[in-house]
């Protein structure tokens, strides 16, 4: 595990809360033995991923849990992150509230410098043993190995040992924490956490060794580093009174006006002028002389003028590619038939803090149809496994009526039933959570609305997919009817009566006065042999052009085209081609046509006028 860039000590603040944590650790999520183990690993892994992202490194995360007694475990987390300078190690691992992000704001996984120190402290409280840290920066020849505990009274590291060691890694950090904990499997387990982390970090490789020595590897499926988020200064509308007061006095020898212009975003000399005329604020007061009631007046004054919303380009979404590849990597074995196009909402602002929502959805295949859909929740790229009921994501899903989108839902409320996995990622600066342990996003109206809007767009995709499937099976039914059942009724009734077989063509065109396009397939090792039949059940000869877009093709240049010339009534043409790849359930070829009135064709759609142009545009996009 690593921490962030650590070469700006002037920005670091310290607060003596180690003692407080010792007595109130449940507030940060260290409540049960299972949960505490989970928290330690989560904090370490989140920090590693944050650091790798910042340094554009493709993460290699190694997690191991050793059992030395019933509840006695040792957690090892190792990464290939940037490493930490020798001088900073005591601060990063030994002091609570030590972090580079205090004062500026950015979207990140970790908490405000509480997490990893809290983990070490938890280990120390429960086992009375120190933790071991090994870290190496790229520019150093050696790594440094520490044994370190925490001096609770003074909120600082207690260095027990320190020595330079040889480590073949280019850079990275390894942390070993002995602790009391309980290993469990299931929905709220360490492994589930890593699995879900892998969904949103398809560019990372995870290795996990459980207490029984069983090793699981989740491979990297993308070679592209994640885009780090930009830092921004706090926006005036998002500040609490105490916070504003503390910030103002943090750097002495400047005026209130200087502080506001330097440390907050979106304030200009003009806004200050406006405020002084509307609210009578004196911006020349030195910050040291400020009193708290004056700050309250200032907060009110922010509301009396128009301040631009915060910049919104500072967020780091997962993006379509990551969501799609991540879901495919982790849930691909369930062979979903439909991978929805991931949905991203425009950025909104809540209390001066920008946020947005992404939703990904997969549907069908071997996913269980009679169970509730699986919801995977993420806040700032961190999987949320606990407190689903309290979370804005679960609540938005439960309050939406899914029945119109092809899902079952009792009374239109609750998590719907259906063969689907829904990924929801809420990301932003200072996301509101229901508690300090950040397990559930608070159900703020605006956030719920944005989640719901994204869910609806994603759900429409599922409905479209289902409609297409139903249409296909209806057409297949009708085809069976005219191709098999009616001829058999004719034959059977004739043989029972000892009469010659009647001409059934009139009846057939009465039942289906169309030209059918259907296909049958033969599965082979690595491809399908497709046999498409075009049968004319109408009373007229037909000429048109048919296009076949095989499943799994991403470019219309792979679309095949056929000429159907003068197909007489009751006659058929057979087209044969093969489709590469294998599917758990063959999803079917999409057929299109041109050159004939759509009322005469079943089993194919009118070719969209921009069908081939669309392709050009997508290609141009991906070349960018």
């Amino acid at each position: 595990m690593s921490t962030r860039k650590s070469d700006a000590p002037s920005e670091f603040r310290e607060t003596s809360i180690s003692e407080f944590f010792e007595k109130n650790r449940h507030i940060l999520g260290f409540d049960s033995l299972q949960k505490s183990l989970f928290m330690v690993i989560k904090e370490a892994v989140d920090n590693s991923l944050d650091a790798c992202e910042e340094y554009q490194i493709l993460p290699d995360i190694y997690v191991e849990i050793n059992r030395s007694g019933d509840d006695s475990l040792t957690v090892i987390v190792e990464d290939n992150g940037p490493g930490i300078s020798r001088k900073e190690v005591p601060n990063v691992f030994g002091r609570l509230l030590y972090g580079s992000r205090f004062g500026t704001l950015r979207q990140s996984r970790g908490q405000q410098g509480i997490g990893i120190t809290a983990s070490i402290l938890y280990g120390q409280i429960t086992t009375a043993l120190p933790s071991k840290i090994k870290t190496k920066q790229k520019q150093e020849d050696v790594a440094y190995a520490f044994e370190l505990g925490i001096n609770v009274k003074e909120n600082r590291a207690d260095i027990i040992g320190e020595k330079p060691v040889i480590w073949e890694k280019e850079s990275g950090t390894r942390i070993e924490i002995p602790l009391k904990g309980k290993y469990q499997t299931g929905k709220q387990s360490v492994f589930e956490y890593l699995k879900e982390s892998a969904i949103v970090n398809p560019n990372a490789q995870f290795t996990f060794i459980d207490p029984d020595g069983k090793k699981v590897r989740i491979e990297r499926v993308m070679e592209k580093p994640s885009t780090p988020a930009r830092s921004i200064k706090p926006h005036p509308m998002g500040l609490e009174l105490g916070e504003l007061y503390r910030m103002a006095r943090s750097i002495p020898n400047r005026t209130l006006g200087e502080f506001l212009l330097q440390d907050l975003s979106r304030l200009t000399p003009r806004t200050l002028d406006e405020m002084s005329s509307t609210s009578g604020i004196d911006f020349s007061i030195p910050v040291d002389k400020l009193e708290i009631h004056y700050m309250k007046k200032l907060l009110d004054a922010f509301n009396s003028v128009k301040i631009l919303p915060p910049p919104t380009d500072c967020l780091s979404p997962l993006g379509s590619d990551f969501i799609r590849r991540g879901l495919k990597n982790i849930y691909g074995e369930l062979q979903p038939l439909y991978f929805g196009k991931p949905v991203q909402r425009p950025v909104s602002v809540h209390n001066g803090n920008p946020f947005s929502v992404e939703v990904g959805i997969v549907y069908g295949g071997n996913l269980p149809a009679d169970e509730q859909v699986r919801v995977v929740r993420f806040a700032n790229k961190v999987p949320l496994l606990y407190q689903p009921g309290a979370c804005a994501i679960t609540r938005a899903i439960s309050e939406m009526d899914w029945r119109g989108y092809g899902f079952d839902q009792r009374g239109g409320k609750g998590v719907p039933f259906g063969p689907a996995i829904i990924l929801v990622h809420v990301f932003g600066i200072r996301l509101p959570f229901t508690s300090e342990s950040k397990e559930a996003i608070a159900g703020i109206d605006l956030i719920m609305e944005e989640i719901t809007a994204a869910l609806k767009t994603a759900a429409r995709g599922v409905r479209g997919f289902i409609n297409k499937k139903e249409k296909r099976s209806k057409i297949y039914e009708k085809f069976t009817l005219v191709e098999k059942i009616i001829p058999e009724i004719g034959a059977k009734s004739s043989s029972l009566l000892g009469l010659p077989e009647p001409d059934i063509s009139m009846v057939l065109s009465k039942i289906a006065n169309v030209i059918f396009v259907t296909e049958t397939f033969q599965r082979n090792e690595d491809h399908y042999d497709i046999r498409a039949e075009v049968v004319n059940f109408t009373r007229k000869s037909a000429t048109f052009k048919l296009y076949a877009e095989p499943p799994g093709t991403s470019s219309s240049s792979e679309t095949l085209s056929f000429e159907v010339n003068g197909l007489e009534p009751s006659r058929r043409v057979i087209l044969e081609f093969s489709v590469k790849g294998t599917f758990n359930q063959y999803p079917g070829t999409d057929y299109y046509f041109t050159g004939i009135d759509p009322v005469w064709i079943q089993g194919a759609e009118l070719l969209p006028p921009d069908y081939f142009e669309e392709e050009l545009r997508i290609e141009a996009d991906s070349n960018e």
């Binding site: 009724i489 009734s493 029972l496 009566l497 009469l499 009647p502 059934i504």
Partner: protein, 363 residues
């Protein structure tokens, strides 16, 4: 070649399908709708039959076309049985349909239902089709002599009091004259009993001899042949039929199917229903008057009672009052609850009281 009656009827059905196709029309089959909303009281015979509404199965839809094809296969199968002098159980036919490709049945309910549809369409009985149900174990005991045709083709004479054990004479699946002849009867009435436990109690207590009764074990919802035998004894030998069941909504339905006809077989109610049959009990009033041990009505029981209130067959003063009483007290009781007062109570007290009540009522 001389066709049998079923073959003639079948030919009509097939011809209509065949000629539709030849004329370029979509074939279809029309028949009486066989549900609760389409049964009406036939005043002439006092039984409930299908009314005027019909359903049409058209080959326009896949379901309708498959239905017609299955019907053709079934007809072919029955014709082959008639020609080779064989018969099969309904279950055997269901398994044989495995080989009917596109016309194979999804479940036995479907093939049973279609056999009944074929009865409605042809105005014939299942027995004419050489189809029979599984044995269901219903039996009769009492002083009646019958002749049953054995598989060797000979008629064997059986007295249902002297020639049988304590479980009585098992009622065969076919009780038409060709299979079962009713000879001498020396009894005053028939008591049809729902449960085996009560049947055995009455046999052990000698109720059949003491009261000159024929005891019929219905074995729950009575099979068609059991109801047909009751009907024949009622009309041919003038024996009144009394029905003695548990006191719950499902037992009321047993009585309903004996007296008024069942919804599924309303096309042959005339052959099966005994409109003069009387319900002895257990009634809801019995539960109160005899202070019987009870069970609470389940939600399903309550739903069944409410549905009976909407069933035209139960739309009489007696039934409305009994059903409403049962709903009000929220209780049901088994026939054997009468054992509360001793093993002889049912034969010494309850049945004599109830029978004289009905006799008296009849005046």
């Amino acid at each position: 070649m001389n066709d049998s009656l079923p073959e003639k009827k079948f030919r009509e059905i097939i011809s209509s399908i065949h000629s539709s196709i030849s004329e370029g029309e979509v074939p279809e089959i029309q028949m009486s709708s066989r549900n609760k909303d389409n049964i009406v009281l036939d005043y002439l015979s006092s039984v409930w039959k299908y009314g005027d509404s019909t359903v049409t199965r058209s080959a326009k839809s896949l379901d309708g076309a498959q239905y017609i094809l299955k019907l053709l296969y079934m007809v072919e199968f029955i014709e082959s049985m008639i020609q080779t002098n064989k018969s099969s159980t309904l279950r055997e036919m269901y398994y044989i349909s495995e080989g009917w490709n596109l016309a194979k049945f999804g479940a036995q309910d479907e093939s049973n239902m279609m056999a009944e549809d074929l009865e409605v369409l042809s105005s014939l009985l299942r027995e004419d089709f050489k189809l029979r149900p599984e044995e269901n174990g219903a039996s009769i005991i009492g002083n009646i002599t019958v002749e049953e045709k054995t598989r060797k083709g000979e008629f064997k004479k059986i007295n249902c009091k002297d020639d049988v054990g304590d479980s009585g004479y098992p009622i065969p699946y076919n009780v038409e004259e060709e299979k079962l002849r009713i000879k001498d009867v020396d009894a005053d009435f028939i008591l049809a009993i729902e449960t085996g436990g009560m049947f055995d109690r009455l046999v052990e207590n000698g109720f059949d001899e003491d009261s000159r009764a024929l005891l019929v074990h219905l074995k729950g919802q009575p099979a068609r042949s059991t109801r047909r035998l009751l009907k024949r004894l009622n009309t041919e030998k003038n024996l009144p039929v009394y029905v003695f069941t548990d006191g719950d909504p499902w037992s009321f339905r047993i009585f309903g199917s004996i007296a008024y006809g069942a919804i599924k077989t309303a096309h042959i109610s005339e052959y099966l229903a005994v409109p003069t049959a009387e319900f002895i009990g257990i009634t809801a009033s019995d539960i109160l008057n005899y202070d019987l041990p009870t069970d609470k009505l389940s939600d399903r029981d309550i739903a069944a009672l409410n549905s009976e209130l909407k069933d035209p067959r139960f739309n009489s003063e007696f039934w409305v009052q009994e059903i409403e009483t049962m709903l009000r007290i929220g209780k049901k009781a088994e026939q054997q609850a009468l054992a509360k007062y001793g093993l002889d109570y049912v034969t010494k007290t309850y049945l004599p009281e109830k029978l004289s009540e009905i006799e008296g009522f009849r005046g």
